[in-house]
Symmetry: D2
Subunit: 354 residues, 4 copies
C-alpha cells in the first residue's frame, strides 16, 4: 500500500488544493478503500467557489467528492460481508444515530447523518478513504467502477421518480437537463414512463436528453411565461404530465412545473434554489397537485446495482470527461465551466479504465 | 306538497334575495327532497358579497347553500335504494362525466363536476331541491338532519386528515379555528392523534377549540414571525408535529405550517388565499415535508355517517345559531359578522328541530 | 351496414354455434361497433366445454368473447368523445351501479358489474356489438386492432404487477407461461423489474417466455416438491424474488410461490384453481409475505394504450393463430388443444389485417 | 445494587426454574435495567410446556419474559439519551445487522434479529437485565411501569391495525378475545373504527371485550360452519367488515375471516396455527381480499407511549393478576390455565405498585 494519500481539499472560497493526507485506519465496522473513480458534483464546485451551501459552511479544510467507487484494501474486525479485493460503490450518507428516521427507513432525513463532502465531513476524492462497511455495496463483475460512482447521482433520480410515483404509462415532465435531470429521465423511462418531455435553456443539453431517450424537448428562453410554457408542454404531449420532476431550482421553472402538472399529479422538487419562493400554491392546492421534496436518497444502491447489472439502465454516456487525480484542479475548472455532463477523476494510478 | 319553493338567491355582489321558484321535477336517477337543515358556508357569504370566487363568477341568479339534509318526497323512475320518507344527507358534488378522475376514485377533481352553489350550478338553500340519488345518503334514526347537513364541512376535515395520513399517535398542528379548523380537529382526534395544537387570532375561537378537544392552543398576533411561531409550537408540544393542517389560507400561516412540521411530515393546505404565495419551499423540500392540497372531498359520506351514528364524532356543538328560512338574510348577516361558528337555516316550516 | 350479425354462441356444455343475431341498437350512452379482432380466452373455452365457471352458469344462449377491438359505426345521442369511424379497444367490464366500489375507483369489484361473456351477459365475438361508450377507448393510428384486443389480457398483467408493487430493480417470479404469465412478464419488465424468472411444465412455453424477455426459465415436473422448487428459484436468481405472480392456479405452484418469495414481499394470485386450497399460510404470515388476489382489472386501458403506442410493450408476438369469424369452431378447437398462445378471430370480412 | 439476579429460566419441556444469575455488565451502547414489571405471554408458557415453538428450540437454559419495563441503573459509555433513574419500556427485538430490512424500516423481518426469550436469546423476567439503549424508551411520569410492559402486546395490535389500514369509519371483525384480540380492539377503536365485532368460544372473554369497547360480540361453538358464522357477522353488523384481524390461529376461524371480509378489504393474520392451512383462497382472490401476516411489530413504541400518555388508550384493565417474582411458577401456572387476561410479575422487591 502506497504511503501517500493524495486528496483534493477545499480550504476557503476559491482555495482548492491537492494535498497529501495520512492514510486512515478503519474502525471495526469500516473498510479502507483504494479509490478508483470519483465524479465531480455541482456541490463540490459550489463549496470550492463559495465555501458554503446554505447553512453548511467550510470552517476547516474539507476533502471533496461523494460520487465514488473503489476497492477494499483493509477490512475492519467486525465486517463480515466484504473482503479485501472487493470492488464497491460507496453510499456517502451514513446515519450516526438510530433515531426515528433511521428506524422508519428514511435515514436520509436523520439530522445528524454523516455525509461525504458536506462540512464538516470529509469526502472521498483521494487515494485512500475509509467508510462504514454497511454503506459499501459490492459491484458485480459486469458493472464498472465508473458506473459504481454514478450510482450516487443516479440515486437522486431513483429517489425522485419513486417519490413521484412514476409507473407504467406515466407521462413525465423533467425541468432541466443537467446531470440530475438526465438521470431522472433514465430512471423514469426504466420505470415505465410512456412519454418524457425535458426542458432546458441549452439546446446542447437537450440534444443529450434526446440521445438518452427523451421523447420530446422544449427549449426555454429566459423571460418565457410559466403559464405559456405549461401550455406548450400540453400541446407537445397532447396531454398533461402526471408527474413533473423539477431539476433546476429556478423559481420560474417551479412555477411552470405546477401549472403543467395534471390534477391529482405530483411535482417533485429536486432542484434547490433560493430559500423563499413565490409559487401558484392555490393552483396546486385546488387541483390536488402534491409538492414533494427530495433530499438525497435512501435505499437505492441495491436496486441501482440491479438495474446496471441487468443492463436496464445505461449511465455510461453521462461521463464526458476524465482526468487523473493529479489534474483535479483542471477537472474542477471543466465542471465549473459547465462543459459536458459528468467529469470523472481517476484515483488509481495503475488503472485508468472506466 | 306545498306549491311554493322559497329559495335564497344571489343575483350580483351584495344582492341576496328570498324568492319563490318552481318546484323541480326529478329525472329518472334523481330524487326530489324537501329540505330540512342547511348550513351557511363562508363561500356562500363570499358569493353574496363579491359575486365571485376566483374564476367562478355569478353571471345569472344562483341559489346558494351546499351543507344540507332533507327528506325524500319523490323518487325518480330508475332509483332503487331510496324511498319516499327517507331522511338523507346531500353530497353536493356530482360528477357529470365518467372521466379518468371518476374512474380512479378521485371524482372531486373532475373538471366538469356539478357542485351546489358554485356558479353556474344552483345550491339547495330552498324548500324543494332535486339531486342525483347516488349522492344522497340515508341517515340512520340516531343522526339528526343538522348532523346530516354538517357532514359537508366535516367531509373537508376527513379528506384533509386522510390526505395528511393522520394515524395513531400523530402529533397535529391545525392553523385556524374556524369551522374547517374545528372539524379537522374533531377528525384528527377520532383518527388517533395523540396531541393536537390549534392556532388562531381569536381567543374565543381557541376557547371553542379547547372545548372540542384541542390539547393546546396558541394565540397568534398579526405580525408574529412565522419561524418564531413554529418554535412556540415545538416548545408547547415538546415535539414537532407530524402533520399540519392549514385552515386559514393566510400566507404567514402557511409559512408557519412549513417551518413547524417535522421532517418527513405533511402540510395539508385547506385554506385558500391569494393566487401567488411566497413560502420557504427549500425548507420543505430538503426536509421532505410534503405539501398536499385539498379540494373538497370524495368518498366521505358513508364513513362520516358511520362516525356520527356510532357517536365517535360529535359535531353538534358547532351549531351556534339557527334561523327559519324566512329569516335567511339575517342569518347571512350573522355569518358575515363572524359571530359563532355555524349558522343553520331551518327550511321545513313544520319541523324546526335539529 | 350488413343486415346480418354472425355470432359465436354457447348453448350448453359442448354446444357452441355460429348463429345470426339481430344487430343491436345503441342506447344514448352507447356506441355500435363493427367488430374487427377478438381473441379467444381460456374462459371462453371453459364455458363451451363445461357450461359454467364456479357460480357463473350458462342458463340461456350466450355470445362468447371479451378480448376485442372494433370500429364505431353508430353513436348514441349522449356520446361526445367518439365518432363514427373511430377505432376502439373495448373494456369488457362496465359497472351498472354507482356503488362504493365504483366511487372508490375499484369498479372491478362491483358485484353487479356487466362483463362480456360472463353469464348472463353476452360477449362480443360477433359482427356487430354495442357497448358503453365510456368503456371504449380510441386507438392511435400506430396501434393495430389486434393490439387493441390484446389490451384485455395485458390489463390482467398490468393489474397484477400494479397490485404486486413491481418497481425499479424488482426481482420477479412468474409461475406459468400461458397467455397471462407472458403478459405479466412483459409488464414486469416494462415497470423496471431487473430479473424475471418464469416457470412452466412446458419447455415450449418457456421458450416463448425467453423470447419475450424472461431472464431465467425453470421447467417444473409434476410431483416436484414446492420447497425444492423455491430453492431452485433462489439458486438460479442468487436472490429471493420480491414479488411472485402466480398464473397457474395449481395448488403446488401457489405453495412454491409462498416459499419462494422474500420476507416482506408479495404473492399475487392471478391463476384460479379449486375453491379450497392448502397452503403454508404461517410461512407467509410470519415473514409478512402479503397474498393479494387479482380480479380482472380497472383503470388499465389508457396506460396500456400509452405503452403500446410508445412501443414500450410489444404484445404482437403473442398472436400465434388467426381465423376468420366463419371458422370460429375450428379456432376454438385450436385453443382447446393448447397449441400456440393467442388465437385471434377476424370479424371484419373486408379487413383481415392485424 | 443487590448482588443477586433472580431469574425465571426454562431448561427443557416442563422444567421452569427460579435461579440466581450474575448481574450483566452493559456494553457501550447498552443500559443495565432493574426490572419492575414483566407480563407473561402465551409464548413463554409454550416454551415452558413444549421447549419449542416451530423451529425455535430451547437447547440451553433460557430466561423467559419479553413484555417488560424497568429502571435504568447503569449506562453504557456511548449512550446519550438515557440516564440513571429513567423509567423505560423495553422493545424486545433488536436487529443485529444493518441489512435491507433494517434499512427499509421493517427491522422486525431481519432474520438475525435478537429477540428476548426466543431461543437462544435470553428474556428479561429477572431482577437485572441489560438491553440496547436504542430500544429502551423513556416513560413519561403519567405512564406506569405496567403500562410500559403492556406496550409489547399493544404493539402487536398496533402493527396489526396499521397493516390492516384501519381508519375512520372502518368496520372491523376481530376473531378471538385473548390478550392479542383485546389489544387489537383497543387500537382499532383508537384509530377510528366505527364498529368492532369480536368472536370467541368463551363468553367470559367476550364479556371482557364488551367492557373494553366492542360494539358486538359473537359466541362461536366448535363445529360451527365458517360460512354461517360469516353470515352471522354480516347480519349483526348490517354490513361486511372492511378489515378482519384474526387472533386465534385456528383454521376454521381463518376461513370465517375470509368469508366475512368485504371485497377489497383486508384479513390480517396475527394468530399462528399449524404450518399448512386449508382456506377458501379463490374466494379471497376474486374479491381482492388481501391476506397480510403480522410478525411482531416495528416502530410502535413511540406512538404507543403517546397514546398511553394522552389517555387515548387504556390498557390497565388487561392486568387481571399480579405476583411477586419469587412466585413466578405460580404465576405461570395461572396463565397456563387461561384464567384472566394478563398476569404481571413484579420484579422490584421495593415497589410492587403498577
Ligand atoms: N435535492 C437533492 O438531494 C439534490 C441532489 C443533487 C442535486 N440537486 C439540485 O438539483 C439541481 C440540478 O443539479 P444538476 O447537477 O443537474 O445541475 P446543472 O446545473 O448541471 O443542471 C441544471 C440545468 O437546468 C437548466 N436550467 C436553468 N434554468 C432553467 C429554466 N428556467 N428552465 C429549464 N431549464 C433550466 C440549466 O441550463 C442546466 O442545464 C441543482 O439545483 C442541484 O442543487 C438536488
Ligand atoms: N380546500 C377546500 O376544499 C376548502 C373547503 C372549505 C373551506 N376552505 C377554506 O378553508 C379556510 C377556512 O374556512 P373556514 O370556514 O373555517 O373560515 P373561517 O374564516 O371561519 O376561519 C378561518 C380562521 O383562521 C383564523 N386566522 C386568520 N389568520 C390567521 C393566522 N395568521 N393564524 C392563525 N389563524 C388565523 C381566523 O381568525 C379564523 O378563525 C378558508 O380559506 C376557506 O376558503 C377550503
Ligand atoms: N384473476 C383473473 O382476473 C384472471 C384473468 C385471466 C385469467 N386468469 C387465470 O389465470 C390462469 C392463467 O391463464 P392462462 O390463460 O395463461 O392459462 P394457460 O392454461 O394458458 O396457462 C397456464 C400455464 O400454467 C402452466 N402450469 C400448469 N401447472 C404448472 C405448475 N405446477 N408449475 C408451473 N406452471 C404450470 C401450464 O403449463 C400453462 O402453460 C388461469 O387459471 C386463469 O383462470 C385469472
Ligand atoms: N404474529 C405475531 O407476531 C403474534 C404475536 C403474539 C401472539 N400471536 C398469536 O396470536 C394468537 C392470540 O394470542 P393470545 O395471546 O391472545 O392467545 P389466547 O390463547 O389468549 O387467545 C386466543 C383466543 O381465541 C379463542 N378462540 C379459539 N378458537 C376460536 C374460534 N374458532 N373462534 C373464535 N375464537 C376462538 C380462544 O378462546 C382464546 O380466547 C396466538 O395464536 C399467538 O400465537 C402472534
Ligand atoms: Zn452530488
Ligand atoms: Zn362550504
Ligand atoms: Zn379473458
Ligand atoms: Zn409475546
Amino acid at each position: 500500500m502506497a504511503q501517500e494519500n493524495l486528496a483534493v481539499v477545499v480550504h476557503s472560497p476559491g482555495d482548492l488544493r491537492l494535498e497529501n493526507l495520512p492514510i486512515p485506519e478503519p474502525e471495526p465496522n469500516e473498510v479502507l478503500l483504494q479509490m478508483h473513480s470519483v465524479g465531480i458534483c455541482g456541490s463540490d464546485v459550489h463549496y470550492w467557489q463559495y465555501g458554503r451551501i446554505g447553512d453548511f459552511v467550510v470552517k476547516k479544510p474539507m476533502v471533496v467528492g461523494h460520487e465514488a467507487a473503489g476497492r477494499v484494501v483493509k477490512v475492519g474486525s467486525a465486517v463480515k460481508h466484504l473482503n479485501v479485493g472487493d470492488r464497491v460503490a460507496i453510499e456517502p450518507g451514513v446515519p450516526r444515530e438510530m433515531d426515528e428516521f433511521f428506524k422508519n427507513g428514511r435515514y436520509n432525513l436523520s439530522p445528524t447523518i454523516f455525509f461525504c463532502a458536506t462540512p464538516p465531513d470529509d469526502g472521498n476524492l483521494c487515494r485512500y478513504y475509509k467508510h462504514s462497511a454497511n454503506f459499501c455495496y459490492k459491484l458485480p463483475d459486469n458493472v464498472t467502477f465508473e458506473e459504481g460512482a454514478l450510482i450516487e447521482p443516479l440515486s437522486v433520480g431513483i429517489h425522485a421518480c419513486r417519490r413521484a410515483g412514476v409507473t407504467l404509462g406515466s407521462v413525465v415532465l423533467i425541468c432541466g437537463a443537467g446531470a440530475i435531470g438526465l438521470v431522472s429521465l433514465l430512471v423514469a423511462k426504466a420505470m415505465g414512463a410512456s412519454q418524457v418531455i425535458v426542458t432546458d435553456l441549452s439546446p446542447e443539453r437537450l440534444k443529450m436528453a434526446k440521445q438518452l431517450g427523451a421523447d420530446f424537448q422544449l427549449t426555454v428562453k429566459k423571460g418565457d411565461s410559466s403559464e405559456q410554457l405549461a401550455k406548450s408542454v400540453h400541446d407537445i404531449l397532447g396531454a398533461q404530465p402526471h408527474v413533473t420532476i423539477e431539476c433546476t431550482g429556478v423559481e420560474s421553472s417551479i412555477q411552470t412545473a405546477i401549472y403543467a402538472t395534471r390534477s391529482g399529479g405530483v411535482v417533485v422538487l429536486v432542484g434547490l434554489g433560493s430559500p423563499m419562493t413565490t409559487i401558484p400554491l392555490i393552483n396546486a392546492a385546488v387541483r390536488e397537485v402534491d409538492i414533494r421534496g427530495v433530499f438525497r436518497y435512501c435505499n437505492t444502491w441495491p436496486m441501482a446495482i440491479a438495474m446496471l447489472s441487468s443492463g436496464k439502465v445505461n449511465v455510461k454516456p453521462l461521463v464526458t470527461h476524465r482526468f487523473p487525480l493529479e489534474q483535479a484542479l483542471e477537472a474542477f475548472e471543466t465542471t465549473r465551466q459547465g462543459v459536458g455532463i459528468k467529469v470523472m477523476l481517476k484515483c488509481d494510478q495503475n488503472d485508468l479504465n472506466p
